[in-house]
Amino acid sequence: MTPVQVAELLLFPGLTFFVCLAFLFEWLERKTAARMQGRLGPVVTGPFGILQPVADFFKLASKEEIVPSESDPFVLRWGPALYFAAPAMGIAFIPVIGYQSVIYHPLDLLFMLFVLAFSTLMASLLGYASAGRYATIAMGRLVVQYTSYGVPLLISIVTPAVLAGSLSLQGVAEAQGPVWYVFLAPVAFAVFILSSLAELEKPPFDIPSASTEIVGGWMTEFSGNALAYVKLTKNLSYVFLSALAVTLFLGGAGGPVLSTNQVLQAFAFTCYFLVKLFAVGFLIFAIKTGLARIRIDQAAKVFWTIITPLSLAQLAVAILLR
């Protein structure tokens, strides 16, 4: 790898850029929820409270870390790092400054599927290793939920790939030059958003982290640094899934070409990407704030009897369209 590539990977449009976006997303999420509930949300920390998630992160990182006596200290210590690695690996493949991503592979869409499954695997492993009874219940719910939303999520990711005839994120983004796939395959987009809500454990699918039922879900036993990284990873997953939705359904960073200057055009592409990213983010925030939690059996029923057949039908239509 060249030094430029390393800089791209670590700074822009790589890890640092997306971690900043993750903090921004948490702030936007809290602000949106507050405004929808007739509150103000954070206002004191930084302008409009924009530094609130940053303050939360550094406060948690500075606190004592409690290791429960029955837990597995090794997994508790290094698990959050691996959990963080899942979306951190995924974002390197997202095209941000145009149609080319930092790391490219002709089959990188399959790697995205791996990243999504790995994230859930690490979450259940962390819950299991912390050995709390609430964490154990939450882990069971998490796995049941994953078996429900995993299949429709996979099908909804495959649908744009079928339409584009490509298994790379770049290829899918480039093939959406004439028309975005959200118009060609609206059902797949809806299924992707719903499955993302389940993956992110947000209402109406926040069953594994239902704080009114099972305390903190699988994060109950985490404190200090580990909790800081787990929370940051959840926000990074938020950004990652929104970015995936933008790349697969909203034409990636594509948009009108405004300038022949390469740097200016890259800036324009980045702006298009961010606008689309925040649009998807707000859609998820609004659904999340507006809906109540459903039971785990209802979630499984909805996913298996309604959403999976719908996504299969959409896949069949996509194959016919092609």
Partner: protein, 154 residues
């Protein structure tokens, strides 16, 4: 560098206060006022105050109630599960010393007979403003524009 780290930690701790609430045999009056402090009317989230579900995530323990013998050991357990640095706020007359139930056979002599208390908020029940003021006073500890009313907090 060490100064920067200390400063950053101090800055973060003052602005991110996660509270965990324990009802140690309270009549629910103070608990309702705590809820009022956290919900839209007073919205303590403006100042970074957040109610967390697990004591392991918390910074500040809010305790209400007379602390009867049944709750004494449970309160100690909850207190020990909060990671350092931790603070305890006793809210309401009962938590301070028994309140109107003082000298009853099953009423303790305040929360501080079981766990160390950093701040007392009197009242039966205290108003939500008093609770928010108390939490901020506790965590900042020094004159701060937010507390002295110089900052516009909406």
């Amino acid at each position: 560098m060490a100064d920067f780290r200390t400063g950053l930690t101090q800055w973060a701790r003052k602005r991110s206060i996660w509270v965990f609430h324990v009802n140690a045999a309270s009549c629910n009056g103070c608990d309702i006022e705590i809820l009022a402090a956290l919900t839209p009317r007073y919205d303590a989230e403006r100042l970074g105050v957040e109610l967390v579900p697990s004591p392991r995530h918390a910074d500040v323990l809010l305790v209400t109630g007379t602390l009867n013998p049944l709750m004494r050991d449970r309160l100690k357990t909850v207190y020990e599960q909060i990671p350092e640095p931790r603070h305890v706020v006793a809210i309401g007359a009962c938590a301070l010393g028994g309140g109107v139930m003082k000298d009853c056979y099953n009423v303790g002599h305040g929360i501080d007979s079981a766990i160390p208390v950093d701040l007392y908020i009197p009242g039966c029940p205290p108003r939500p403003e008093a609770i928010i003021y108390g939490i901020l006073k506790l965590v900042t500890g020094i004159p701060d524009p937010i507390i002295t009313g110089e900052a516009n907090v909406g």
